[in-house]
Symmetry: C2
């Protein structure tokens, strides 16, 4: 696999063809690889498959070190004195995750003179300044598909939790109460409701497949219509105009990446046009929403319930308004990091490292930036 | 519709044929109907479709009174001085619900000299002493099917809540924390897990249909094998031996009625033979479980999570151990009383009253006791 930044220097140094560059790099010897993961502390020992934490570092240390590479893992990712910052100047590969995101800014990219490859262990690379990465000729890749099932399942759980008004009932149980009416007056079946997904990529499609037997009215908006077979399989109807779709929905699910176009797009004005009492599930990215507009609409009741696992920033500060708004069913960023998901994205990251060492291509769908060129959906 | 008790008196009085009895009863003039529902208090006004509460009494008062019947509704159902007790001696029809169960004991049945019909607005009539009701020649009927979708959806929600370890994450949010590891170490995908339903009647089948796209290993145990078409549709495998099935399951869902055979059957011994860390969802009846055995197994970790909306007794007292056991995702008895469910069971109850007044049969599947004869599954 050719790396543009390295390629450029190689060309300068050796006047080599791009092809030669690729091979030169695939045999370039020992690499310094840094991984940033969340700390598991006492939880690490509780499950041998809990590989996505700093303590296990995806379970690839022995494999990397036996091949002569250096592997540093840390959870300490913020501020000028953090552990990550120390390794920026000489690392070749940086592995990050969306769950405990190391923000890879233009400044960090500039300082990282040896950097060739940014790998996201999971899906979602918006914690990386993709434009800066592209300009520097880097490659950014994810383990596409690694947690799409995890996230789709989680979205369906959140839809049900909101529609059926689960949390007030659970809170009654732990506080010693019993008041069925206080739950039932706003508890509904999912059956018969209109559910729309904004985005019908890998996760959106899996969600629609799982929603199919619930006998809902399923809608989707995306840049492209799904192929007729998938439309038939899910029974979902394509809506060309996003806002027209949103205004029909009892339940809206966000399944679109964070881009310049989607950042902050659920603002006060757009929310005010949604059905009163609309339920919103967002496991995509917190910054797609205007934080305060969501909190205000939950307080007024215009949004009847909001659930998701994504925030901006992450970790969510103690005073983040979504912690305190009514009718929220929020969690920390967790949906893609189930144990099953971790095993998949650890395997996918290892596979890409292996291909990188061998100078082989990654699976095409994994590329977000390929040797300085952004994937179409990020342009 | 003939009522055995009334029929016996009618025969004695008039030497009528059963056929004549039925007609005599269908034209017997004004009836006293008592309904026992939960109180909604301030919640009643918040939703015009909230018909299942004492304040709305299924929305059938005008209809009943315009036909000359007397309609009393109350939430006061327990103890010798309660409102219900006052009406026992002269009521003809008693409408109850599983959500706020009026326990219809042999003693109450004996006192209810005019009683002909016990209607359960919802599904599940184990709050009625069915043997005593049968011996008294009564008819007991439910609105079969009225909330099967509601309960099946709710079960799938609870499966996902347990498998994905939702609640610890949500508790972090409301307590100002952020610790992904503390959730992730025991969060899994549902995909690939073995899920077994004990009971594959109406609710169990709907659950299996909804589980189908999750790519689980689906098992079921029931008295009878499902028809091959339904087996194919759900992909679920029949397990003839209940205990053999239970021991294979990562997740067990209880979908069997409470009977003499099922009461307390999940006791310490049976639980000890389940997989360590098994997840259990029970929206059937609380008394199918040995309360303390479940609490102990949740504390030891042998049960990895327990969720349901049924308790014994109901309302659950403040000191019920399931309120305090770890890894529970309990709620009050709510799954069948969504607004959609209420509208269905209110309509079904009205339909049966109408048929009763007209001397017509009920939909056959609604009968639990028909003129003194127990339905097969309760024998």
């Amino acid at each position: 696999m050719a790396m543009k930044r390295a390629g450029v220097s190689a060309i300068r140094a050796l006047c080599s063809s791009p092809n030669f560059t690729r091979h030169a790099h695939s045999t370039a010897g020992s690499k310094k690889i840094v991984g940033v993961f969340y700390k598991a502390n006492e939880y690490a020992e509780l499950n041998p498959n809990f590989v996505g934490c700093v303590e296990r570092g995806l379970g690839i240390r022995d494999w990397l070190e036996s091949r002569g590479h250096q592997y540093v893992v840390t959870a300490d990712k913020d501020g000028p004195d953090c552990e990550l910052e120390k390794h920026i100047p000489d690392l070749h590969v940086l592995i990050t995750t969306p769950f405990h995101p190391a923000y890879v800014t233009a400044e960090r990219i500039k300082k990282a003179k040896n950097l060739q490859l940014l790998l996201t262990a999971g899906i979602g690379s918006d914690h990386i300044d993709l434009k800066a990465a592209a300009e520097a000729g880097l490659t950014v890749a994810e383990v596409t598909g690694s947690n799409v099932v995890s996230v789709a399942e989680d979205e369906l759980m959140r839809i049900l939790i909101l529609v059926r008004n689960f949390l007030p009932g659970h809170h009654q149980v732990i506080s010693g109460d019993w008041n069925v009416a206080g739950i039932a007056y706003r508890a509904y079946d999912l059956e018969g409701k209109t559910v729309g997904t904004f985005g019908a990529g890998r996760i959106g499609k899996l969600l629609l497949q799982r929603l199919k037997p619930f006998n809902c009215n399923l809608l989707y908006h995306d840049r492209l219509k799904m192929d007729p077979e998938m439309e038939k399989q899910t029974g979902a109807k394509f809506e060309e105009d996003l806002d027209v779709m949103l205004q029909k929905c009892d339940i809206i699910v966000i399944n679109t990446p964070l881009t310049d176009q989607t950042r902050g797009m659920f603002n006060k004005e757009r929310i005010s046009k949604l059905k009163k009492g609309v339920l919103i599930v967002n496991n995509a990215r917190g910054a797609i929403m205007d934080t305060q507009a969501v909190a205000d609409a939950c307080s007024s009741g215009h949004i009847g319930g909001y659930s998701g696992d994504v925030w901006f920033p992450q970790p969510a500060p103690k005073d983040h308004p979504w912690r305190y708004m009514p009718n929220q069913a929020m969690t920390p960023h967790i949906s893609g990091t189930t144990i099953d998901g971790q095993l998949r994205y650890a395997a996918g990251t290892k596979d890409m490292l292996d291909r990188y060492f061998k100078g082989e291509e990654f699976p095409l769908q994994n590329y977000i930036v390929r040797e300085g060129v952004l994937a179409p959906q990020y342009r």
